[in-house]
Symmetry: C2
Subunit: 655 residues, 2 copies
């Protein structure tokens, strides 16, 4: 920590302007007093473990050093945390996995870690899907880290398209064994976290062949390294896939098989709708947190940083007083909140569906799947873009690794691709929308999140009556989606009539389909945020209610101003309406401005989670930037050896 503990006076002034009870906001944001207490206890515990810190900031390390430091830290965290959980609650799987939440995300280990996949995918893979015998064999060992595992699916040549996987698992009738092979380079497994040098077991997805016939992709439990020596077993080629934009602590790996024999039958099918939706809820929550952290950093810095005058007779202003800066940052703050509230809503849908499933009712599964697809896509895309808006709003200093923006971006943008590439996900949602649109055209009743389509399918096309109240703007998003869906559906049918196959016609309408799925999702997000905030306002104090409603208005105006083409096209919005909307948007920025620091304070991120020289609570940004620079190995000696080796010979003309 910097030697100074004095809080920057501009931040003090900002905090003194707060109109609401910050603790009340935090309790709401975190989801209750108990959760908040639990969170703070966990953070307090972590903050006070000296082994949990980085000796040198990770951004100064080599690729290899970073892996080694990550393993040191991750194993220390797991061991210490287990000990703590044992003392406090008695050790069991549930307690431990819950506690590990904070450790498997990137909030604490800013380039993540290779044991995360062990707990997030390997252990659940065994718990959910191995049979009783298999569970007995592996579950206890996995939970106690006696074996270290990962989940191995993607290959060099195939990611999204599961059916295309090339790894083969051939049943050998003579020995009753399975023989696994990577028939060519593109069949090599590529990407699984922790696979490179860490895991000794994995669940491998491969095409099952038996009696010359392919039975499709199945999961197999495979030991890949010796438990005593950690050497790769014969027939196994394993290593790590190299440096990446982010997540360099994860130790993503490759894996090739050459006639590798396992005694096992496949374990039962691994993925189902439920797991996928559950994972996507977590992704939306995670990325909303990344965006909230980026907004925290940039908003605090924008109140400390003074640059340029507005009134030539006055001193330079806090950069947040430039309207353009407010227009960059405050919508990110509001968006982070809206995304989190949508994840909460998706979670409720997921729970309701689980209850339905227990009674054998699968009606809502396709709807749940469709929402989870587009919500994952919008949240990861918006969070990644928003982190960059926040970084760029910090000017040159935002480019420094010590701000932690690069790690936040690395994590957010990775989520754009993993667990379903965003464009592919939009197309899945669009496919669902086209399907239900055609049901609605036939007069069938639709599921709740798409029920709004019914009125547009059954009535003649009429412009939606615009007004700029929040609920009406949200309905306008639905009107836009419905109209775009009607057009895209017509274009698909026109193409089919012109002789294209339905698949070709759909592909040739792909851009329109992606676009409408996105707008459908934005309507869902705004509706989720609006409903959650209105509900919160029933019990919240009046000052907090006012702040939350202002945040809701800001995100709604911001989103509406991004689709003015659609609004002018499909609603009765006029030119003066548009001027008025812009005016209201600007007023909303101005209304949130005085509370901006207090809102991000209320997100309640400790400095070690933010991990940023520009975002710390005390606002001593220049001291922290300088302090990080002084940790650079290049600053430990006044003259680098390259002076004698290269620079001096160059200067003397002797190179």
């Amino acid at each position: 920590m910097p030697s100074t503990s004095v809080v920057n006076k501009d931040l003090l002034a900002e905090r003194s302007k707060c109109t609401f009870d910050r603790e009340e906001f935090t309790v709401w944001w975190v989801g209750g007093k108990d959760r908040l207490e639990e969170k703070r206890n966990r953070e307090h515990f972590c903050m006070n473990q000296p082994e949990f810190g980085d000796k040198i900031p990770l951004h100064y390390l080599s690729h290899k050093e970073l892996y080694e430091e990550t393993i040191r830290k991750a194993t220390a965290i797991f061991a210490k945390s287990k000990e703590m959980v044992q003392k406090k609650h008695g050790y069991n799987a549930g307690n431990f996995v819950k506690f590990l939440d904070v450790l498997t995300g990137d909030g604490f280990m800013h380039q993540a870690n290779p044991l995360a996949v062990h707990f997030s995918m390997f252990v659940p893979g065994i718990m959910g899907h191995g049979n009783a015998e298999q569970q007995e064999r592996w579950l206890d060992r996995a939970l106690n880290c006696k074996i270290l595992g990962t989940y191995v699916q993607t290959e060099l040549g195939h990611g999204t398209f599961l059916r295309g996987l090339e790894t083969t698992a051939t049943f050998d009738e003579e020995t009753d064994e399975i023989v696994i092979n990577s028939p060519r380079l593109s069949a090599y497994k590529w990407w699984p976290g922790g696979l490179g040098l860490t895991a000794n077991h994995c669940i491998v997805m491969a095409q099952l062949y038996s009696k010359g016939r392919c039975h499709g992709v199945n999961p197999f439990m495979v030991q890949i390294r010796d438990e005593e020596t950690h050497m790769p077993l014969a027939g196994i080629e394993v290593g790590e896939i190299g440096n990446k934009l982010g997540y360099n602590g994860v130790n993503n790996g490759f894996l090739g098989f050459k006639n590798f024999r396992i005694p096992e039958k496949p374990i039962s099918s691994v993925l189902n709708y439920g797991t996928m939706v559950f994972t996507r809820v977590l992704i939306v929550l995670d990325t909303s947190q990344m965006l909230a952290r980026a907004a925290t950093i940039a908003i605090r810095y924008s109140c400390v940083r003074r640059q340029s005058v507005i009134d030539p007779n006055q001193p330079e202003v806090q950069v947040i007083d430039h309207q353009t800066q407010q227009g960059k940052l405050l919508p990110q703050l509001a968006k982070a909140i809206a995304l989190k509230l949508s994840a909460d809503n998706l979670w409720k849908m997921y729970e309701a569906t689980q209850v339905d499933l227990e009674t054998g009712n699968t009606d809502r599964l396709p709807e749940l799947h469709a929402v989870s697809c587009c919500l994952k896509a919008v949240s990861t895309g918006d969070a990644a873009a928003g982190v960059e808006v926040c970084r760029l709003a910090c000017g040159g200093h935002g480019y420094l690794s010590s701000t932690n923006f690069l790690n936040l971006y690395g994590s957010a943008t990775a989520a754009v691709t993993y667990e379903g590439e965003n464009t592919v996900l939009y197309l899945q949602t669009a496919r669902y929308l086209v399907k239900v649109w055609n049901q609605a055209l036939k007069g069938q009743q639709l599921m709740p999140t798409v029920r709004y389509l019914e009125q547009y399918a059954t009535k003649p096309v009429k412009r939606f009556a615009w007004s700029d109240s929040t609920p009406v703007i949200i309905e306008a998003f639905q009107a836009v989606t419905a109209n775009r869906l009607r057009l895209a559906n017509e274009h698909i049918q026109q193409r089919v009539k012109a002789g294209r196959t339905p698949q070709e016609a759909t592909n040739e309408t792909g851009l329109e389909l992606v676009h409408l799925a996105e707008i459908h999702c934005r309507g869902f997000i705004l509706q989720s945020a609006y409903a959650a905030i209105e509900q919160a306002c029933q019990t919240a104090s009046q000052p907090l209610g006012e702040v939350l409603r202002e945040i809701c208005r800001l995100v709604v105006y911001d989103e509406a101003l991004r689709i003015t083409g659609d609004l002018l096209r499909f609603t009765t919005m006029s030119d003066p309406d548009l001027v008025e909307l812009q005016r209201k948007y600007e007023a909303s920025l101005g209304a949130i401005r005085p509370n901006a620091v207090s809102i991000v304070d209320a997100f309640d991120y400790p400095d070690f989670i933010l991990g940023s020289t520009l975002g710390a609570y005390d606002g001593n940004v220049y001291e922290r930037l300088f302090e990080d620079a002084m940790k650079s190995p290049l600053n430990q000696e006044p003259v680098n050896r390259t002076f004698e080796l290269y620079l001096k010979p160059l200067m003397r003309g002797k190179l």
Copy 2:
């Protein structure tokens, strides 16, 4: 290089579909046969110098190792290149600096290098602005690298706002010396390239004080390190500012002064409009090249990669056959070309202005400045965003450092902030537009790039007559700018009438102003591209002309579809017009698709400039990905030492 030199068969098929003469395209793109020959000779020379390669890919090195490797490579390049230039042309400043072009950019050294600023800013700083005595003292030594310099302006507390600099240079009458001080931490110089551990001299910008009065910011030549030992001189605190998102070879530094005395008077004023415009032309050219390289990588990979079926009875398609993929990549290709052609246009304006200046005519300076501001902003913003679109279009593999996307993004996004932060630049252009708008309202004649405003200022508001021919769409951008300018100007005046100062009113209209400056610039870019392509078509072969016109249409449609809100608002565009525009856009994607690989081939980037596992000419992407991974230091031993240190103790419960 990978052992295989067989070109991927899908790329061969793509190339066989080419409808135009690739070499003719390349000659046009590079700017003539002579330039192309020069470029290829230079590349051939560089390719054949073993010292110019990296021993280990830079992304595996630590921050310190990367600096040391960069110095090794940069000094080798400078020494070898000088020798070569000497042999071939006879050594002189002009020849050498021209040759160094390729070396100071990031095309060859993917994280750039600390000697770049020596040639791009330090040497020109002396050439352009030192007096005769000063030139004699430093110029020859600087040109021959007998001293190593940099240009030192920004501070921890101030970047964009030059007047706010806090470093003081106080004239001491008694000793006839200047005493330089950093009165507080925020006054420390921060960011200059090469300043950290490389330079021993620099041009320092500081507030000149004499007889108790401040005479504003002036440049001073300062020696900071001993030429023999490289030790920092007494009174100098110097070091590097730490790790960054990109450009880690540049060795950006900090510099603090404590009563540091120099014998010099300030050198004459350093920056003028000309230098700034010149620098911005280079930035637009550079960033257009970054985008073109990213498009090359992504388009080649998208033709090699096969993923998902369209027809269920057919094999998986090349991913570029998904319309959504075309919609991501082909506009980037077209945009890169349009940005390059706008830079050419700005360059012509710059040259014409230089001729004017010689006759004392400064009339076009403000216009030139206004165009250079917004063009720098749009090109850097679009290039950075476009690189990320290309990266994400490569799915998970795009996230690997070996693709070189991270370096391209690091370079492009840095340019968003340096040499004038983009929002600040947009506001400068907007200020010019508001000024000339008010001139036009008074019936005054405007300069060529804004002359179109006259008709909108003098005639009553009428909707612009939409049609989707290229020149009309370009005029529509002008109509949108004029209408938005009219509104913003009215809003400023309304705010002034309501009691705000003109500065406050302008700040409160900031979002509108930024927006209209951007659209003005997009009109300029489209107009520049259209004019340049029409001119090229006068001499080009018919097949090339067709391709170039298709590229122009694509970028025009793409830009138009991004401002449909404005087009519906300010032109007569109807709903069927919009449907038709979308249809034409899709047709344009389809028309360019078969030539996509050939167009990026015609950009003529050798593999070592692209530096990408996914973008190489032969398309052996999986071999190259694997090969780069195998260079990882973590893959040099089957078991990392952390197994015995941490993993095994964890597994045995002994941690």
